[in-house]
């Protein structure tokens, strides 16, 4: 067959093997972004913690800390690893279900597409609608409202990805020219994201006057960088491992 010469042999790996590859990639991604959290994000958190301490010293309030900074750093690393492994397990199930519909000729490019969407929905979208804040900013009374906004943004992001994906698939199936499909996909995505930015309420927390803008900005950049490292490492590692698995199967 002619097509065998043009394209690599396409096989369907077993789900359990696929899950194992994604879990390994999740551990690697967690370790990479966990290191980022200890080296980069920690330096952005330190000034915020100093602010919190200065405040409690000023009010003569005795705040008993449950853990020292060293233990919390370890918790930051472990929490990041757990989050990365959880993402990898969820991405594995979604990837298995969507693999035959994702664009790309190899698993490297298909995994890259899915993890890029994951980064966009779970990191970039929250970063522009309800951005991360360092310690010393949050108001405990608004945690429920902020959590609801955060979950709603993630849900809206997933719905947007599914809608645009279905639209692109439909247009492709009707034989619309690829550049027209790409243009429509980009425009619809932009329109939905702009609508979300306009419609989603801002975080109810006002950033206190004693928190310098630079502290918040550095922290948000560090946080976005940490998530970028997580999703990029997950995508590249899982793509490489799953591609090898599919070629061997």
């Amino acid at each position: 067959m002619v097509s065998d010469l043009a394209a690599p042999r396409q096989t369907a790996p077993r789900f359990a093997s696929l899950l194992g590859r994604f879990a390994i990639a999740g551990l690697v991604a967690g370790a990479a972004s966990g290191l980022w959290s200890m080296v980069v994000t920690e330096r952005a958190i330190a000034p915020a913690l100093a602010l919190e301490e200065a405040r409690s010293a000023g009010s003569h309030e005795h705040s008993a800390e449950l853990f020292g900074r060293g233990t919390q750093l370890l918790g930051g690393f472990l929490g990041t690893v757990i989050a990365a492994v959880v993402f990898s397990v969820v991405v594995a199930a979604v990837y298995a279900g969507l693999r035959h519909r994702l664009p790309g000729r190899s698993d490297v490019s298909r995994v890259a597409v899915l993890t890029a969407i994951g980064f966009a929905v779970f990191a970039l979208l929250p970063a522009i609608t309800i951005p991360a804040n360092p310690p010393a900013v949050g108001d405990p009374d608004t945690i429920d409202a902020r959590t609801a906004i955060y979950i709603a943004v993630l849900g809206a992001g997933v719905v947007t990805a599914l809608l645009v994906g279905a639209l692109v698939g439909t247009l492709q199936a009707r034989g619309v020219h690829p550049s027209a499909v790409a243009a429509v996909g980009v425009l619809v995505t932009l329109a939905l994201v702009v609508a979300m930015v306009l419609l989603v309420p801002d975080s109810p927390d006002a950033i206190a006057a004693d928190v310098p803008a630079a502290v918040v900005w550095d922290f948000r950049l560090a946080s976005l960088g940490q998530l970028a490292v997580l999703w990029t490492t997950l995508g590249l590692t899982a793509g490489y491992l799953v591609d090898r698995l599919a070629r061997r199967a």
Partner: protein
């Protein structure tokens, strides 16, 4: 250009059989992440406070809302 010119480059990729436990596992993993990251004593009560403080940096740096 017509679709006929593009279709030959689109190789049919076989479906992967996704077992039902895959989705159950994904849900369980998300719930575990909720316990680690988001629970403010709602499910874990006092143990939640310990988890909250221990994973405090991860919550903040992964962009999850925190107290």
């Amino acid at each position: 250009m017509t679709s006929a010119q593009h279709n030959p480059t689109r190789v049919a990729v076989p479906r992967i059989a996704v077992p039902a436990w895959a989705w159950a596992l994904a849900m369980l993993a998300l719930f575990a992440l909720y316990l680690v990251a988001q629970d403010n004593g709602a499910v874990l009560a006092s143990a939640g406070d310990v988890a909250h403080e221990f994973f405090h940096d991860a919550r903040h740096s992964l962009g999850m809302p925190c107290h």
